[in-house]
Amino acid sequence: MKTLCRKLLLCLAALASLSGSIAAQALQVTDDRGLTVSFAQTPLRIVSLLPSLTETVCELGQCQRLVGVDRYSDFPPVVRALPQVGGGLDPNIEAIVALRPDVVLLATSSRAADRLQSLGIKVVALEPKTHADVRRVLEKVGQLLNVPDAQRVWRVIDAGVTAAAQSLPATARQTRVYFEVNRAPYAAGESSFIGETLTRLGVKNIVPASLGPFPKLNPEYIVRANPDLIMVGDRNYAGMEGRPGWTAIRAIREHHVCVFSAAQSDVLVRPGPRMAQGARIMADCLQKMSGKAP
């Protein structure tokens, strides 16, 4: 009887260790909330609630696994045909549940995470904000989707940024740039995603990192800094020359203002896999303006 019990216990222990090793083999991902989410198998049905995460999934070649996106995800064009489940901050929970996703990718700022989890849906919250974050998110999503060459994808993107920087003539590197995020005016500082790209291109940002990523500046600061080049989206450009005192700024006086279309602005401001393309857009602007006579 005793030996039987012992054998039974041994069996149980073996079973436990076996299931433990299975659990260890299961996929575990720690997201930006610091929560570890485990998956029994690689998720096949994905809902993404952040445009840059949608782009990341597709960049890893897993676009076909997306079953739903938020209303702001518009790249690559194929995702526009997918069911839209509201915005990242105001998602339609019911529509998401109806899509039966294996995982929902969203930003940490979204309130939807708790509600979805309580409904038994796995949630991975990732919030890319910097170049380093883009790499980290690529690796995280690659791990989650079991794509082995996430590192290679990153190296291609990184090389694209370097190539854009190397394409610039030495004269363009002296340019002092003001990038206006919007007309409040909020600027893109050195520590922002856009600012990091500018730094990689080797140009000077008039807004130092000490002011934070997107400071709301006194307009006078920009007049005093007197940038050589202004980068701005077309939505915010309208009326810029009419601002008091701004005609004295060298960039305005010499018409060294790059006005980006809405589609270009999306590429520039989204911390995602299109950052090399964003660097290319800025490099083209710098090249065009440095070639232009004042």
Partner: protein, 340 residues
């Protein structure tokens, strides 16, 4: 009799004090910029500094005073007209009308270069003004004129809520405009130039003359509508004129500086807490008070974390609200809203 003349003396002293404060603040405002406090004296040696002081700082400082003065005037007129101490200049829906106008133009800026061409001419200022005045007209239409104060108030609240909902919807659908909208909602004097100052000054003068002329109606109204009518005052026409004053002053201020909170509500109360006077003086003093309040808030907004800026609306609420609370506590339960 002696009490009245005593109050008159206090009113004159307050007016003089507010004017002097205004002048002092303009000088201070010329010295506070993106690098914090710096002497204006340096400006004469450096052309860039001169340009900044002359074309950026001074118009902005004067503009802050004028916008505050317009809002203070509108607040005093609105509180008298509606016989309600909680009335503020945005009561007739102008704030949400202006927001909707700005939101729509911001969205259209991004749609097509063709649309942008004539929109630029209208500009955000034009859109805000059209939106604000349009909302007041809508309120008047819904209330079927100005005869019934309560109906007018209700219509104003409804227009405010509905237009506000539309601009929220716009921001949700086109999230790129959200940040710019937020800046507009919190108010900023950052882009006020000399032309804007001249415009606001003209409107201020015109509206001040009109409301001064009709201030006896507000005095009559403070005794109750029936009494005012029995005094033989042509209420309907004069009320309409005062609604025009509110719409014009608020529309102009909002167009140039955004939705600055609390100045219009607090300025008349601050004046009343010092002196009891008739509406003619109350309106003028509220205007001076509003100007001083907004200018002080604007100077702090660019000083505190220079070269970054705080939203000026946050500071008007903190400064005006804090001062009002202190006054209430000091007067030991006496209601600053009462009287006048």
């Amino acid at each position: 009799m002696t009490v009245i003349s005593h109050q008159q003396r206090i009113a004159s002293l307050l007016g003089l004090g507010l004017l002097l404060t205004g002048v002092a603040l303009i000088i201070l405002g010329a010295c506070v910029g993106s690098t914090g406090f710096e002497s204006v004296g340096r400006a004469w040696s450096d052309p860039m500094s001169l340009l900044i002081v002359r074309d950026v700082r001074l118009p902005r400082t004067v503009g802050a005073w004028l916008a505050g003065a317009l809002l203070g005037m509108a607040g005093a007129v609105a509180q008298g007209l509606f016989r309600n101490p909680l009335a503020d200049p945005y009561l007739l829906g102008s704030a949400s009308g202006a927001s909707l106008g700005v939101a729509l133009v911001l969205v259209l800026f991004g749609v097509s270069p063709f649309a942008a061409q004539w929109l630029v001419r209208l500009g955000l200022t034009g859109a805000a003004f059209v939106g604000a005045v349009g909302a007041v007209l809508l309120t008047l239409a819904l209330a079927k004129g100005v005869q019934h104060t309560l109906r007018l108030l209700l219509a104003g609240v409804i227009v405010g809520v509905v237009l506000g909902a539309f601009s929220s919807l716009t921001m949700l659908m086109v999230p790129e405009v959200t940040q710019a909208m937020q800046a507009f909602i919190l108010g900023s004097t950052g882009f006020v130039g000399w032309i804007a100052c001249a415009l606001m000054g003209g409107v201020w003068l015109f509206c001040m003359v009109v409301s001064w002329m009709f201030s006896h109606v507000l005095d009559g109204l403070s005794l109750g509508e029936a009494t005012a009518a029995s005094l033989g005052l042509p209420l309907a026409q004069l009320r309409a004129a005062l609604v025009v004053v509110i719409a014009l002053t608020t529309g102009t201020a909002v167009a140039q500086t955004g939705l600055i909170a609390f100045v219009g509500l607090a300025a008349p109360h601050l004046v009343r807490s010092v002196v009891k006077t008739k509406h003619a003086r109350l309106i003028l003093l509220s205007s001076l008070m509003g100007g001083a309040l907004l200018m002080a808030a604007d100077i702090s907004a660019r000083w505190l974390i220079a070269p970054q800026e705080l939203p000026v609306g946050v500071l008007t609420a903190v400064l005006g609200g804090g001062y009002l609370l202190w006054l209430m506590h000091r007067s030991g339960g006496a209601r600053p809203g009462a009287g006048a």
